[in-house]
């Protein structure tokens, strides 16, 4: 089976999170090696919403298509979107140990992982943006939950 990204989740401190409709009694399984490749990150997280070929989807609302998305031309735009999330898209740049990460039950991606996945979407699904984003460029942008 595919390698999991489980190591990414800090131990979910469930006692800090109110139970809501959710009652998982255990934190997620401690994981294996970090997944770094942009393609793997896309296939395990992003395609749940943006779909396997980056085509997006339409129902009562919609998920934007990333293939042929002119908004990806400026690299900062997708990087800031992945870091901070927007509307129905959860943030992926919250600090790994933050309360907000647990409250949102979202995932922390490192700056390198964000650079990789953004490079992946900017060169896939018919996109051909040649300028590669570096970890340092991601690190220099404002992150949510950082003071």
């Amino acid at each position: 089976m595919r390698r999991t990204l489980l190591w990414l989740i800090p131990m979910l401190c469930l006692w800090l999170v109110p139970a809501f409709a959710d009652d998982s009694s255990f934190p997620d399984t401690p994981g294996q090696d970090p997944v770094q490749s942009g393609e793997q990150i896309y296939m395990q997280i992003c395609q749940g919403c943006h779909m396997p070929a980056g085509q997006g989807a339409v129902g009562a609302g919609h998920y934007p298509a990333l293939g042929g998305d002119a908004a990806l031309a400026a690299w900062k735009y997708p990087v800031l979107t992945v870091l901070g999330g927007r509307h129905g898209m959860p943030p992926f740049g919250l600090p790994a140990t933050s309360l907000a990460l647990q409250e949102l039950r979202t995932v922390h991606l490192s700056d390198a992982q964000i650079a990789n996945v953004v490079n992946y979407i900017r060169t896939s699904f018919g996109n051909h943006y040649p300028d590669m984003v570096s970890e340092a460029q991601v690190a220099a942008l404002p992150h949510p939950g950082r003071r």
Partner: protein, 536 residues
């Protein structure tokens, strides 16, 4: 003991003071909760709004629990009510998949549910705690029959993939052995005078007595194999009748093994306020509530109506929508007031002229990732072989839960389990799979807990909530910070538009949140409408 007040004649305040003095703030809070001073349900009994201004109208967006609660109350108060709903059924997240049902998720994958007649899975809500008075009162008024939902089952399993060689343990044994050995430790500490500065002499005697009862300790305050602990943890050979009657005790699992296994995490699952006995489920599936509401509001709900814009002016609200039966032609609805219950990820994309504050609030709440998988098996092996009747087994595998049906006990024929209830990163990974892969993974993981899966599996369905076309997520996730900054703005009436729904509540992820938020919003809307007098 007959009395369960446990207060020994102390006044409530005095007891609280003592607990507070001895143990600090968090215990104080727990004690307050157990004395029912803190968290009170916002439910104040049936609303019975009356006296709508003559001719006044309200347009309600979404026919989930919030929208239909609002429609029911506003109609009864005399408003002209119209509900616009994207789906071709009432209920929203209140939804049950039965055999013969079809479901198409975002991306276009269609699943055909092949369960046997009478079998079902609730892809969304599945249980209602007894103190969710609002939703329960609508069940009563709408004639929705309820039955018990088994939350805690002492014979269900706790499973750690790396604990006890991967062998699942009975909840009953882990709980009894954990509790018994913790009680023994505390009794030892008391005897060794470690608590002298914290507990008075007389109370130490009481504490020891209570530990003996709580932990099933023997006369020497030890937790050991035997009749006393057997009455908690069960037996290797249970007592019976006749010559083969003599019970044999099993050996308690050592505390260090329990601590290292992490299985102690599963012990308190039924202690959460929302998970405490009694809980209920509608007979025939959670979707029965939505169906009953839909029948009650027949004629008021327009189905297959997808809202595409919401515009207010000084006199009322105009909503544009696409009618799936008349593609390509945008339709219009108008009313004096609008109550919008559309889930926020969808609403955030709908053009709407509201103030900046409400706009910012709508965009500030991402929705949780969650996946449920329903699995049909050729027989109810969990009952027949494992003697598990309802309740939940917990695991550290990605499937997290195996939920056994709380109904149809001892039935012959097939049965349906909740084969996975997944959150967080695992849910995102499962969402990224095709429905068929999700079912296959749930069967693979589940067979580590119940090997019978391999031969008994029949078919399954998998619902990933980020792929659900009408919500794009499971429920609204508020950070403390977003709550402080945006919650009041989200709930405040903006001109002629009010929001309601699970997301506009402090009971997020529960139908009670949807119901109580709707009642709160229609109460305020009604006040405003009455203040403004007759219709526009």
């Amino acid at each position: 003991m007959a009395s369960d007040s446990g207060q020994d004649g102390l006044t409530r305040r005095e007891l609280l003071r003592r607990v507070g003095l001895m143990a600090g703030g968090s215990v104080m809070y727990q004690a307050m909760n157990s004395l029912a001073l803190a968290a009170e349900s916002p439910w104040k009994g049936p609303t019975e709004l009356k006296g709508a201004p003559p001719g006044a109208s309200v347009l309600i967006l979404g026919a989930g629990m919030a929208g239909m609660t609002a429609a029911y109350e506003l109609r009864n108060a005399g408003y002209k009510v119209q509900v616009l709903e994207f789906n071709n059924r009432a209920g929203g997240r209140n939804w049950t998949l039965h055999g013969g049902d079809r479901y198409t998720e975002l991306g276009g994958e269609t699943q055909h549910c092949e369960f046997d007649p009478g079998l079902y899975i609730n892809p969304g809500p599945w249980r209602i705690p007894y103190h969710h008075h609002g939703i329960l009162s609508y069940c009563k008024r709408l004639g929705v029959a309820l039955e018990p939902f088994v939350q805690v089952n002492y014979n269900a399993l706790l499973h750690g993939s790396k604990a006890f060689g991967g062998k699942p343990q009975r909840f009953r044994e882990i709980k009894a052995d954990y509790q018994g050995q913790v009680a023994e430790l505390l009794a030892k500490a008391t005897h060794q005078h470690a608590l002298d500065s914290l507990v008075t002499r007389e109370d130490q005697e009481r504490l020891l007595e209570s530990l003996r009862g709580w932990g099933a300790l023997d006369s020497d305050f030890r937790y050991v194999a035997g009749d006393v602990s057997g009455e908690r943890r069960g037996y290797l050979k249970p007592p019976g009748g006749g010559l083969t009657a003599r019970p044999e005790s099993g050996t308690p699992i050592q505390l260090d093994d329990i601590l290292q296994s992490g299985l102690w995490r599963g012990v308190s699952s039924g202690d959460h306020y929302d998970m405490q006995t009694a809980l209920f489920q509608p007979v025939g599936g959670m979707g029965r509530i939505g169906e009953a509401f839909g029948r009650e509001l027949a004629g008021l709900i327009r189905y297959q109506a997808k809202v595409t814009s919401i515009q207010q002016d000084a006199a009322g609200v105009t909503v544009h929508y696409d009618d799936a039966s008349k593609p390509g032609v945008s339709q219009t609805a108008r009313a004096d007031w609008c109550l919008c219950t559309i889930p926020l990820p969808i609403l955030a994309e709908i053009p709407m002229n509201v103030g900046e504050q409400l706009g910012a609030a709508i965009g500030a709440v991402p929705y949780a990732s969650s996946v449920k998988v329903g699995l049909q098996f050729k027989r109810r092996f969990w009952e027949e072989d494992d003697h598990i009747f309802g309740g939940i087994s917990y695991t550290d595998l990605p499937i997290t839960n195996i939920g056994y049906p709380s109904t149809g006990f001892h039935a012959n024929g097939k049965g349906v389990l909740l084969g996975a209830y997944i959150w967080g990163l695992n849910a995102m990974e499962f969402t990224s799979m095709t429905p068929g892969e999700r079912v296959q993974k749930a069967v693979e993981y589940g067979s580590q807990i119940h090997p019978q899966y391999k031969t008994e599996f029949d078919n399954g369905v998998a619902v990933a909530w980020h792929r659900v076309p009408f919500t794009q997520g499971c429920y609204g996730m508020w950070t403390t910070e977003a709550r402080a900054r945006h919650y009041d703005d989200l709930c405040a009436i903006d001109g002629r538009i009010a929001l309601a729904g699970e997301h506009a509540s402090f009971i997020g992820g529960w139908q009670e949140g949807a119901v109580t938020s709707a009642l709160d919003a229609v109460g305020r809307l009604h006040q405003r409408a009455v203040a403004q007098g007759a219709s526009a």
